[in-house]
């Protein structure tokens, strides 16, 4: 290291090391950015500079027409984590007042005595998303569309905060063994059906996936069937429609019975 001139151009070791590295790098860049793209129609259509930019990952234009993708969207709501935060006390209070409108179907404490869904303990972003979807007509229901039409964004947040504040119904066991339906525990990989507990709590609870335990069975069967037939389509990226499409009526009944928790264990198997 202390040898004089080790780092001088006159030292052949130094000279050749630097020259070789520079030549090698330049060659790689030439091949990767100029030569290889030159044999690709996609890359060369707009000239040399455009093809170099494209190879670098920054095409001048991303698509030929430049037009934004159009078509029907399943929902206008973009789920954000901020929606999942617990509401402030005053928000919960306002929500409780507004919720008096909902008690007829969803129960005085958010536990339905009819076949309307329970809302007690429901995750706030779920309530927010569904109310917005009713409001914009993305989810259909003669009653709910009319009720949601006049709610402001702030009122929707308050309602969500109130229902999230109420205690959840719990019916499912906290450990998962073979006694539970297979679709709930492990899904069916070769039919592309993910396990219910991967999103709806158990293994993981994904943003926007509702709390299902204790829901009325009729409601669950109705919604799964609606997803299957496509009459309900407000799930973004068709998440639920893709899950249910391959399920048989018997399987729909099984998983609904499990989450409703009302059927005896032998039937839930």
């Amino acid at each position: 290291m202390s040898e004089p001139g080790a780092y001088a151009w006159a030292n052949p070791w130094f000279r050749w090391s630097v020259v070789w590295l520079v030549v090698l790098t330049a060659l790689c860049v030439l091949v990767g950015f100029v030569w290889l793209p030159s044999v690709h129609g996609d890359f060369t259509a707009q000239g040399l500079w455009a093809s170099i930019c494209r190879a670098a990952g920054v095409p001048a234009k991303w698509s030929a027409t430049g037009a934004a993708k159009s078509g029907s969207t399943s929902t206008n709501v973009v789920l954000e984590r901020v929606m999942a935060r617990p509401g402030a006390q005053d928000s919960i209070g306002r929500g409780a007042t507004l919720a008096l409108n909902c008690t007829m179907c969803h129960g005085a404490q958010g536990m339905s005595r009819s076949d309307a869904p329970n809302l007690a303990g429901q995750y706030p972003e779920v309530v927010i998303k569904q109310l917005h979807d009713y409001k914009t007509g993305k989810r259909e229901s003669a009653i709910m569309v009319a009720l949601a039409a006049n709610l402001s964004d702030a009122e929707i947040r308050d309602l969500a905060a109130y229902y999230a504040y109420l205690p959840k119904a719990r019916t499912a066991p906290t450990t998962y063994d073979e006694a539970l339906p297979a679709l709930v525990r492990v899904g069916d990989p070769l039919r592309n059906i993910a396990p219910c507990i991967a999103c709806h709590g158990g293994v993981d609870q994904k943003l926007g996936a509702p709390w299902l335990e204790g829901m009325p069975k009729e409601y669950l069967v109705g919604q799964l069937t609606a997803f299957q037939t496509g009459t309900r389509r407000n799930d973004s990226e068709a998440q639920m429609r893709n899950m249910v499409r391959a399920m048989t009526p018997k399987e729909i009944d099984e998983v609904a019975a499990f989450y409703a928790g009302k059927a005896p264990a032998t039937q839930a198997r």
Partner: protein, 539 residues
């Protein structure tokens, strides 16, 4: 004259105990997804296990072995006491504390993100802090290696640095620069999101930063094995090192070329330009050069041993080799696995061929053969070589050591060759279960059972390793002084550039900037690249 005994011993013990735990998890994973077991009802447990197995095997084991071996090399090759012993212990305890913190978080189910982190999935901040502590502990080692070399140079002006120390410091510098990628990813992108300061993360950018670390880290794992090839193998089998300079060239080539090639892990990532993918693929091919040089040099050194033992003719020297010597066995096994794994690696690094095996069991097979096979088997040999120095024990039962090596070799092939086969058939990796009742998968079921059996052999081998090391009997005689290989041309002149690192470290940094600066700046400036985070186990 070996003052760092306890320090080195502590590193090796923690490494091997963690290794034993992680290998049991690996075998459990293999078992539950084989047809021998029912499907795991909570796949989260499987991913928890994968995270722990990967974190220990990829960070804890190799880092501790490299650190411990590095401290040993410093004293044994420079023949002077280690400077900064207290700092070294500090680094060790940081690694231990980090490992414990990460392990506890994984165990609690708050960090099932796999050791490659995978943003936008987020673990508890404690997991990342644990990993950061491990890395910071290893940075202390990097600094100490540099300081010790500098002090030795000052006292020995103009003398060539011993090859073992040269490789050791090359590995340290490589690690220092390599770990910067993951460190930036964790400190700048992941931790703020994990602490709840932001709701989104630039996942593409995080992956590019991780790729900076992900490939070169392999060469950091590999350094101790290569140092053993060059400086322990020829001596242990009674040969001479064919070329000292070739060893130095291999080490500096690793330094220059192992860094700027990580984007070959991102071939399927749309946010990186095809031009950069090609450049990284081409430079990945370059990194096979030091390995080929090493294989040539070590085979030549082994041939010297064969001829010194009276072997004649074109192949007669092979028969004359000391086949009953564990080191001979280990280096042979290591090269066989390196050859198979390296051939598979050429397919992974090829931009187009990669498409056929991307994210399949092929990849798992590849890195198990190279790392867990070729490299880790040399870690065992390093431990066996150092143990008499560290504990004052008598030489080990050669028979037991050979059984352990055979089990590891056969087990690793039985584990990983079926993975290669089903990888080609498209079996995805990182699956907690497969539906073998389906006619499409049924014919592949037996391969998973075979791999489980291979894994079992590995577990037995690992237990045997720990047994051999733990039951080493103290000998009344002082161990023979430790020596490294003698070069076949001991008086050979070492070119000044191959005795220092300035040029190579400059090249390493320059090439990294050329290959990474643009993709990083470009993706960092894309507003649309930020995606919502997915905290694991938060609800």
């Amino acid at each position: 004259m070996f003052l760092a005994r306890n320090l080195v011993l502590a590193h090796f013990w923690v490494a091997f105990i963690a290794f034993l735990g992680a290998i049991l998890l690996g075998e459990w994973q293999m078992f539950v997804r084989s047809p021998l077991s029912a499907w795991v009802n909570n796949p989260e447990h499987y991913y928890r296990s994968v995270t722990a197995h990967g974190t220990v095997m990829a960070y804890v084991l190799p880092t501790l072995v490299a650190m411990g071996f590095g401290y040993a090399i410093t004293e044994l090759s420079l023949k002077k006491p280690l400077l900064g012993m207290r700092w070294a212990w500090g680094g060790f305890w940081l690694v231990v504390a980090g490992t414990a913190l990460a392990a506890a978080t994984i165990g609690a189910g708050k960090a099932s993100v796999l050791y490659t982190f995978y943003p936008p999935m987020l673990a508890s901040p404690l997991y990342y802090l644990g990993v950061v502590l491990v890395v910071v502990g290893s940075w202390i080692w990097v600094a100490l290696m540099s300081i010790n070399l500098r002090a030795w140079r000052r006292d020995n002006p103009g003398v060539a640095v011993p090859l073992a120390m040269f490789g050791n410091v090359a590995g340290a510098y490589l690690w220092a620069w390599t770990s910067v990628g993951a460190a930036v990813e964790v400190l700048v992108l992941i931790l703020p999101a994990s602490l709840g300061l932001t709701d989104t993360i630039n996942a593409g950018l995080a992956r590019v930063f991780f790729s900076w670390t992900l490939h070169a880290v392999v060469y950091f794992w590999l350094m101790p094995a290569y140092i053993a090839f060059y400086t322990l193998v020829p001596r242990a089998i009674g040969g001479r090192l064919y070329s000292d300079a070739m060893g130095r060239i291999a080490f500096v080539l690793f330094l220059v070329f192992s860094m700027p090639i990580g984007i070959h892990h991102l071939f399927a990532d749309p946010q990186v330009g095809a031009g950069f993918k090609f450049v990284h693929a081409a430079m990945t091919a370059m990194v096979s050069v030091p390995t080929l040089l090493t294989v040539f040099t070590i085979v030549a050194s082994v041939e010297i041993a064969g001829r010194l033992r009276g072997g004649k003719g074109a192949l007669g020297w092979v028969k004359a080799l000391p086949w009953d010597n564990p080191m001979m066995l280990a280096v042979t096994f290591s090269f066989v696995m390196l050859g198979l794994g390296g051939a598979g690696g050429l397919i992974n690094m090829s931009y187009q061929l990669n498409e056929t095996v991307h994210n399949t069991q092929w990849v798992t097979g590849h890195f198990h053969l190279i790392f867990a096979g070729a490299i880790v088997i040399m870690y065992f040999m390093v431990a066996y070589e150092l143990w008499p120095q560290l504990t004052g024990c008598a030489p080990f039962s050669q028979q037991l050591v050979k059984v352990q090596l055979w089990l590891w070799f056969v087990g690793m092939l039985v584990l990983s060759l079926p993975w290669h086969l089903v990888g080609l058939l498209g079996m995805p990796r990182r699956m907690a279960y497969y539906d073998y009742t389906d006619p499409a998968l049924h014919p592949q079921a037996w391969t998973v059972s075979v791999s489980t059996l291979g894994g079992l052999l590995l577990v037995v081998s690992a237990v045997l390793l720990v047994y051999i090391l733990a039951t080493a009997r103290r000998s009344s005689m002082a161990p023979a002084p430790f020596t490294f290989s003698i070069s076949a041309h001991p008086a050979g002149h070492t070119p000044a550039l191959l005795n220092g690192f300035a040029l190579w470290v400059t090249m390493m940094i320059a090439l990294t900037l050329v290959n990474y600066a643009f993709p990083i700046v470009q993706i960092a400036s894309l507003k649309e690249a930020s995606v919502p985070v997915i905290p694991i186990g938060s609800r």
